[in-house]
């Protein structure tokens, strides 16, 4: 495993899941589901394809992802909590599950002799917390639940469904296949590349009403406009033909497109020159399967460089969560990062964050571009199952 993990490697922890892993309606791959700093000790719900996952960090800081449904009475496990001895505990009846295997490890009332252990205290969700929930705040305690102790031996053989999860380059990635997860592949390269860059990092998240395949093409076509990072990656008209390269095969296939374009997409008066003449050359390498992309702009003149990682999480047929992480370096890195963050926040506040990504994604169907053709030729056929009416 080449990805950076917190605590022990998920691959090392990988054991036979307590239940067969259900399909998420997407090709088998490491799919990004969250920024690393979105995940803490309290389970949170995230969606990938057609499945909801409860994702949390265990006591050792290892990221765990579990099917967001208690196998007992189907309550979302993201409504639960972590106990002091590291189990994921359902909020309804207190059933507990092992973070590595998903095996049921404790049922609060259960004991060999019908005598409930004195060590169990399950005053769980107090009235006050539920009043807050009643008022719409959805607040719950982030305090770990009391330790539940060792299994009594009478728990069911089964458990819940765990997904392999890994933290790599600030993203939480989940393996959606039924088989043993492979190495991270292209992402490892992205990670090593990104980690060589010292600079200022900002992140952003936006929900885009578009199929993830269209949004991946939008990243190939105009990453600066799609991510709202025109100051870093450029978003204006291209000044030369793109250079397209492909690499890898199967799930590891990538396409690299290098484009030189004007930094700003400003309106142009008739046939006069553009008002802004700064040209940015951006190389985009994108996974044909998942759309995970890294963009690199080398420093030139008085302008510093930057590296951007963009991740797509399909959450519906026409809904994709777009997460990005931009690291600026060189001259003016702090200013450019601050401006990028401020611009992202401004668009979110005025609710226009998804407008431009959607417009670029809509335009790919009518755009003739060498980079798009290369990506479409590499993309696995099942990518379209999720987006073109097939039941995911």
């Amino acid at each position: 495993m080449t990805g950076t993990t917190t605590g022990s490697s998920p691959a090392a922890d990988h054991r036979t899941p307590a239940r067969p892993r259900p399909s998420v309606g997407l090709p088998d791959a490491w799919w990004p589901i969250a920024h690393g700093d979105e995940i803490g000790r309290h389970p949170r719900a995230f969606r990938i394809g057609t499945r909801d996952l409860a994702v949390y960090r265990d006591l050792q800081g290892v990221v765990r992802a579990v099917d967001d449904s208690c196998p007992h009475r189907r309550l979302p496990l993201s409504m639960g909590r972590i106990t002091e001895d590291g189990h994921l505990q359902c909020a309804y009846h207190g059933w507990c599950f092992d973070g590595a295997t998903g095996q049921c490890t404790a049922i609060p009332n259960l004991s060999r002799t019908e005598r409930v252990p004195r060590g169990i205290k399950v005053a769980a969700f107090t009235t006050a917390e539920n009043l807050a929930d009643a008022l719409g705040f959805g607040l719950r305690t982030r305090i770990a639940g009391a330790a539940v102790g060792e299994p009594s031996g009478e728990e069911p053989d089964g458990g819940t469904t765990m997904f392999d999860a890994v933290l790599a380059d600030g993203l939480i990635l989940v393996w959606t296949g039924a088989s043993e997860p492979p190495d991270l592949g292209p992402l490892a390269e992205a990670q090593s590349s990104a980690h060589t860059v010292d600079g200022h990092t900002v992140t952003g998240t936006v929900l885009v009403r578009s199929a993830y395949t269209d949004l991946a093409e939008a990243l190939v076509l105009n990453p600066g406009a799609t991510l709202g990072l025109s100051g870093l990656l450029g978003a204006g008209p291209e000044v030369s033909a793109p250079v397209v390269r492909t690499g890898g095969s199967g799930a590891g296939a990538t396409v690299t497109v290098e484009r030189s374009r004007l930094a700003r997409d400003l309106p142009r008066l008739a046939t006069y020159e553009d008002a802004s003449r700064r040209v940015v050359t951006c190389a985009t390498t994108l996974s044909a399967t998942t759309g995970l992309a890294r963009m690199a702009v080398e420093p030139s003149g008085r302008h510093g460089g930057c590296h951007v990682l963009a991740a797509l999480t399909p959450v519906g047929r026409y809904r994709t969560v777009l997460r990005w992480r931009a690291t600026s370096s060189g001259t003016g890195a702090i200013v450019r990062s601050t401006l990028a963050a401020a611009s992202s926040v401004r668009r979110r506040l005025i609710r226009t964050a998804s407008d431009v990504p959607e417009a670029v994604a809509d335009s790919v169907t009518t755009t003739v571009d060498d980079g798009l053709e290369a990506l479409r030729s590499l993309r696995p056929a099942e990518s379209f199952q999720h987006t073109q009416g097939g039941t995911p």
């Binding site: 449904s69 196998p71 007992h72 009475r73 189907r74 309550l75 979302p76 409504m79 909020a91 309804y92 009846h93 207190g94 049921c104 049922i107 609060p108 009332n109 259960l110 019908e114 005598r115 409930v116 004195r118 169990i120 205290k121 399950v122 005053a123 769980a124 969700f125 107090t126 009235t127 539920n130 009043l131 929930d133 009643a134 009478e154 728990e155 069911p156 089964g158 458990g159």
Partner: protein, 342 residues
């Protein structure tokens, strides 16, 4: 006319393997749709399995119709269960207007559940309340039969899972499921501490009797020392995502102020339950759902699922009768642990 009574069929019943709530409307049963005191001249709208019911008071009697009173004949619904009259059979008892859901020819007051711990004329209005849950009614019935969730979700009121012993006993007929939980030496829950003096622990006997066809639940929680709670807890199916519970409480062994306040706790406890069941609901409504894991504490819920599935199987075959062991009007005082009229 009384619904035909039959003996148990000789052939083995094929019980559906999967519990699929909200996929079948069990019929030929009485639903206590509304507290009688809430029905006045101005019509009140309720529903049974999605069928609208308009209740209004006409002199001394309550009318339940499938259209507003005065609706032009051409616009009337003429529902399946009103026999062409536009009116459902109605009976007033225990402070409720009970409405018959099924063939009107089969409606009989003999098929009303016996509720020995509530006066036949009902409790005063201040002991009545109405809670709405965002889920199908079968999940609420299971919730009321499953008391291990109370240890976890309502521990401030009913106590946590600590005890010297904890025994769950389950009985059933072709129409009802009875759960009796007995535990000794439980720590006093926070909300009962003012009722028990210096006592550190209490014994409990909690009984739930669920009429599977109608969702009517009878509850008696005897906390010694502590409170004695008697409840008639209907769970009326309004839609696949909505169940209405017009509850009647008879709290005992507590001061007057606590007795007056007790019915309002239902909105806290009900809110806690709704927090859970509304999230469960979608997952049970989706076809091809997973098979649930269970522990021995779930045997009452599992028995409910079995009786429910058996009723569905019989009604799918056109058999809406009550079997000999399923008389809803049988005396359940002993099971509940109450003396009638006490």
């Amino acid at each position: 006319m009384t619904a035909p009574t039959a003996t148990a069929p000789q052939a083995a019943v094929t019980v559906p393997a999967e519990f699929r709530p909200a996929t079948f409307a069990l019929r030929d049963t009485w639903f206590p749709l509304v507290h009688s005191s809430d029905v006045r001249r101005r019509p009140v709208r309720r529903a049974m399995h999605g069928e609208p019911v308009i209740l209004s008071r006409d002199g001394d009697r309550i009318r339940a119709t499938d259209d507003l009173p005065g609706a032009p004949p051409a616009l009337r619904r003429d529902g399946e269960f009103t026999g062409g009259t536009g009116e459902y059979p109605v009976v007033e008892r225990y402070g409720y207007a009970w409405v018959w859901y099924g063939d009107p020819e089969h409606a009989s007051a003999d098929l009303l559940p016996s509720v020995p711990h509530i006066p036949i004329e009902g409790m005063p209005r201040r002991f009545q309340g109405s809670i709405v849950f965002d889920c199908t009614y079968e999940l609420i019935c299971e919730n009321l039969l499953d008391l291990t969730h109370a240890d976890f979700l309502h521990s401030k009121l009913t106590g946590d899972s600590l005890s010297e012993d904890d025994v769950v006993e389950v009985k059933s007929t072709s129409e009802t499921v009875t759960m009796i939980r007995t535990a000794h030496g439980r720590p006093i829950p926070d909300m009962q501490k003012s009722l028990v003096g210096d006592a550190k622990t209490q014994d409990i006997r909690v009984v739930t009797i669920t009429h599977v066809r109608s969702g009517v639940c009878l509850l008696h929680g005897d906390f010694m020392p502590g409170m004695d709670i008697r409840m008639l807890h209907p769970v009326n199916p309004e839609s696949r995502t909505r169940a209405r519970t017009p509850v009647t409480y008879d709290p005992q062994r507590m001061p007057g102020y606590a007795r007056a306040l007790f019915p309002y706790t239902a909105h806290l406890v009900g809110r806690q339950d709704n927090w859970a069941v509304r999230s469960q609901n979608d997952r049970y409504l989706q076809p091809g759902g997973q098979r649930d894991l269970s522990s021995r504490f779930d045997k009452a819920g599992l028995r409910y699922r079995r009786v429910y599935n058996e009723l569905v199987t019989r009604q799918l075959a056109g058999d809406y009768s009550y079997l000999a062991d399923g008389d809803p009007g049988r005396d359940v005082s002993e099971e509940l642990g109450v003396t009638p009229g006490s």
